[in-house]
């Protein structure tokens, strides 16, 4: 026959639909952005990596075509009759609704699935998150990719560059090879030599027919042959060579601790907190790419500060005034107790609506300048308010003037404004 051509296609072109999938995400980016934005509120800030399930109302995805509407007169043939006979009348279900369309598929006008659900990947999730925050591409890449690598040993290989040759291992291999190839011959030589010695020392037989001389000659020739064989075993051969193998491993150098400070006094609304949360998420992502281990410490404050878990940090409300310095003092205390700057890279992010008791603001800048900033890598402050600044902002401006390398501040009224704070952080890191 031979008319059939059988092809193995499994190895080529796995992702033919990737572009179409991307087109789909592109078309529905508003829906997806919203889903991502909802997910951010739901998720913990240490849990922003991972995909997300997105659902879009099926109505919005429809591809309309001309089709028949309800009404009129139609007849359909169905299988599986049990007791009907011609002329039977069946009551119509209340509320109209009639026979279906000609084909069995869900009709285009709303029957069938209500929601179209699908998964986006972790990368896509971050992409949409960054999109919302208007992160430029360079920054996105930095957040997604690990920058530093280190090479770690990962065993030996038989191939490599001369510079990576492991002499000891190669020689050990050569030795073993010589042993295994030569061992049998050496043993044989030893045996023959013993025989030879025995013959030489034994008195010669009188009968020339049994003279030892011939035997000695034979033995000597054989020994010589074996020895020359042995010599031909190379001392070191290509197959003995061993090279050290290294693996590229991302290098999150050491540990970092991230302090999240937030004002939870009555003036901070949930909207403020959501913006703050995104800000904290970005900082967390950034740290995660650079450090092996990250601790997150949440400090909330109104007139007094308290270390809390994430849930309480973002979602419980307090009333009353605001004393920012209480949080700074607590942070300093925690650093001293648990996070020695010698071992930890310390980052802090503070979010507030700018409210503070005026008397307290100079105290804040003093604590920052004198106690906290000398210990931390970076301290960022975001003020989430569309209104005019208050005392705290001006005090912090002084701090920034004195510590431009380790302190950044920004006013934010909208998530898209979070990024400028980060730009400083990235620039510093990239330098």
């Amino acid at each position: 026959m031979g008319m059939t051509h059988i092809v193995d296609r499994r190895l080529n072109g796995k992702n033919k639909s990737a572009v179409n999938r991307e087109r789909f995400l592109r078309r529905y980016r508003h829906h997806i952005k919203k889903a991502v934005s909802d997910a951010v509120q739901r998720r913990s800030i240490t849990d922003v990596e991972g995909g997300e399930s997105v659902s879009i109302p099926a109505r919005d995805l429809e591809e309309p075509i001309f089709h028949h509407g309800q009404g009129g007169k139609r007849e359909m043939v169905h299988p599986g009759n049990k007791e009907f006979v011609a002329g039977d009348e069946l009551p119509k279900p209340p509320g109209g609704g009639g026979g279906g369309q000609g084909d069995g598929k869900a009709s285009p006008d709303g029957e069938g699935m209500d929601e179209f659900a699908f998964q986006i990947t972790q990368d896509e999730f971050l992409e949409f998150l960054f999109d919302d925050l208007e992160l430029p591409n360079l920054a996105r890449k930095k957040l997604r990719d690990t920058e530093a690598f280190k090479y770690v040993r990962s065993g030996f290989s038989t191939q490599g560059v001369p510079a990576k040759l492991d002499v000891v291992r190669s020689l050990r291999g050569a030795h073993a090879r010589r042993l295994s190839l030569g061992g049998a011959r050496k043993r044989k030589i030893r045996e023959l030599e013993a025989q030879l010695a025995a013959l030489k020392t034994a008195p010669d037989d009188l009968d020339p027919a049994f003279s030892h001389k011939d035997q000695i000659e034979v033995l000597e020739a054989e020994i010589a042959k074996l020895k020359s064989n042995l010599k031909r075993i190379p001392y070191i051969d290509e197959i003995d060579l061993r090279y050290r193998q290294h693996l590229k491993q991302p290098q999150p150098a050491t540990s970092a601790v991230m302090f999240c400070l937030m004002d939870v006094s009555g003036s901070m609304t949930q909207m403020h907190k959501d913006i703050a949360k995104r800000f904290f998420i970005l900082l967390y992502l950034f740290l995660k790419k650079n450090y092996k281990r990250i601790d997150v410490v949440f400090i909330r404050h109104h007139t007094s500060a308290k270390e809390v878990d994430e849930e309480e940090f973002f979602y419980s409300r307090e009333t009353g005034g605001t004393i920012v310095s209480s949080a700074l003092k607590l942070m300093d205390k925690i650093i001293k107790a648990r996070y020695s700057p010698a071992e930890w890279n310390i980052y802090a992010a503070q979010a507030s609506d700018g409210d503070n008791w005026n008397d307290d603001s100079p105290i804040c800048s003093k604590i920052l300048s004198e106690q906290i900033l000398p210990q931390v890598q970076y301290y960022s402050y975001v003020e989430i308010t569309p209104q005019d600044h208050q005392m705290l902002w001006y005090e912090y401006e002084k701090v920034m003037a004195e510590n431009p390398d380790s302190f950044a501040m920004q006013q934010i009224a909208d998530p898209s404004e979070i990024y400028p704070v980060f730009r400083q952080l990235f620039e510093r890191k990239a330098a």
Partner: protein, 513 residues
């Protein structure tokens, strides 16, 4: 071991395990080909491609086209398929087969050996011989040119995206897809698809079209008598109503740029290529199922496959041709595999063992050569006429068919016919009609263009049995409007006059006629 007893002892089964190898697939294919030749199946050369589940999903979501232009709707289909597959709600299709020469069929690597054999028999010999034999496919599609054409289309669309932006191209494609069902010639034979010609003619076409358009849209009034003007005003354009909406728009759309016309043309050509498939679903699937069943049984008779093989095969076969009754939660219309398979199987029976009933109903066929008769049935019909011609009383009884009427003027549904002596003919007629595409889709025609006025386009809907246009009509009209560029009207007209109107852009007060 036991299976060898009642069959020729010198023949040994090709394999006993369920793991496939390329070698085994080749051997099975060779044997299936021999059996197919015994029954006179005439096929294009086969190309069998082994692919992974993911690739199957890819193929699935581009409506089975091996290459396709990019569009979000294929992405949606892909997400839908992969989501369902990953959740385990849905198995993947066993097979996708492409009407091309050579005929390409996909085998999924996860399948067991009996499944691969089933797919080869079903697709590479069943569908393949249908593609080669059926008159609709012979007339309307050109198997040797389709792949090249798809490549041409993909590249052309990609070029347009580069030049005019993804969004602009996406909009045109969206609109074309909405009208795809109205982009086919139902009666005229189209010129065959050819990628090379297509490229060559692109240039000529551009000039020609521009010339034609200028003619149509000449705005300077001709010098002439008022009477002449009057007759001009009265003649419609087009003079005869036209059913191919996309063709009409491609040729006459006043504001379209050349690349937009080309894209309309591409979608139109693809619609035409798929049109025979939509018209022969029952026949085609039935034919393929009949042959996988018959060919593999022939293999079994020859002792080439084991009992275990047959058990697994029959289990799949039964699932494929299962017809849930109308009151089952799994019911979603008549299963085309079941209906087609039943008709062909019964046709064979009528040829080989006719009863008196068969002799009465099928005097020409009863007792004839079954292979010849089946081939005749496969070659010369489409679903509608095939059912009309060959649906036998026995199949109607086996499937327990009944027809029910739903009239919005009546308070009740009525059973109009069942599988009994007085019902057979009605039932057969009604079922045949159900497969007439023009009953499934509203009957729409290009009625008039207001050439000397506001350039608006009027479509006419001729309702059948008083069934009105569906809820999405307004949406689709927006697509027509996007392509046409001026106002678009759709009027439903029956013997008594205008029954309903749609306008795009919508009119503020929707005046009743």
């Amino acid at each position: 071991m036991t299976d060898a007893m009642d069959r020729p002892s010198e023949v040994r089964p090709i394999s006993t395990g369920s793991e496939w190898t390329f070698d085994l697939i080749e051997q099975y294919d060779e044997e299936i080909a021999k059996c197919a030749a015994e029954f006179g199946l005439d096929t294009y050369p086969n190309q069998v491609e082994v692919i992974s589940a993911e690739q199957m999903m890819d193929a699935y979501s581009s409506v089975g086209m091996p290459v396709g232009y990019n569009h979000w709707s294929f992405g949606k289909q892909f997400l839908n398929t992969s989501q369902g597959y990953q959740r385990g709600q849905m198995g993947l299709a066993y097979e996708i087969v492409i009407n091309s020469d050579p005929c390409i069929a996909y085998l999924m690597e996860e399948n067991t050996l009996p499944m691969q054999a089933l797919v080869i028999a079903h697709a590479s010999y069943g569908h393949n011989s249908f593609f080669k034999g059926n008159y609709l496919f012979r007339t309307w599609t050109d198997a040797s040119a389709i792949i090249d054409y798809l490549v041409f289309a993909r590249n052309y669309v990609a070029q347009c995206e580069e030049r005019h932006g993804v969004d602009a191209v996406e909009q045109i494609l969206d609109s074309c897809h909405a009208l795809m069902n109205y982009g086919v010639d139902r009666y005229k034979r189209p010129s065959p698809i050819s990628a090379a010609q297509e490229q060559r003619r692109q240039q000529d076409r551009e000039e020609y079209q521009q010339r034609r358009l200028n003619d149509l849209w000449r705005t300077i009034p001709k010098m002439g008598s008022d009477e002449e003007e009057e007759t001009l005003r009265k003649t419609r354009f087009p003079e005869e109503p036209q059913e191919n909406l996309l063709y009409f728009i491609e040729k006459n759309g006043p504001l379209l740029e050349t690349w937009q016309r080309e894209i309309i043309r591409i979608v139109r050509k693809l619609a035409q290529y798929f049109y025979p498939q939509r018209q022969t679903q029952v026949m085609n699937e039935g034919w393929a199922s009949f042959w996988h069943y018959t060919l593999l049984h022939r293999m079994y008779e020859k002792g080439l496959v084991t009992d275990g093989f047959m058990l697994e095969f029959l289990q799949s076969h039964t699932a494929v041709v299962y017809q849930p009754p109308f009151d089952s939660p799994w019911y979603s219309g008549i299963n085309p595999y079941t209906l087609g398979f039943s008709i062909y199987t019964d046709l064979r029976r009528i040829c080989e063992n006719p009863t008196d009933e068969d002799k009465h109903w099928f005097p020409d066929i009863a007792g004839s050569d079954w292979i010849e008769t089946l081939h005749f049935a496969m070659k010369n019909f489409k679903d509608e006429s095939f059912i009309h011609q060959f649906l036998s009383p026995k199949v109607m009884r086996d499937l327990k068919l009944f027809s029910i009427s739903d009239d919005d003027q009546e308070e009740v549904y009525r059973i109009t016919a069942i599988h009994d002596e007085s019902g057979y003919r009605t039932l057969r007629e009604k079922l045949a009609r159900q497969y007439n595409l023009s009953f499934r889709e509203p009957n729409l025609q290009v009625w008039n263009v207001n050439v000397r006025g506001d350039r608006s386009l009027t479509l006419r809907h001729i309702p059948v049995n008083g069934i009105p246009m569906g809820a999405a009509t307004g949406e689709v009209l927006r697509h027509v409007h996007r392509l046409w560029g001026f106002d678009v009207h759709l009027e439903t007209v029956d013997d008594e006059g205008v029954k309903g109107e749609f306008h795009c852009p919508p009119r503020k007060t929707e005046g009743g006629a």
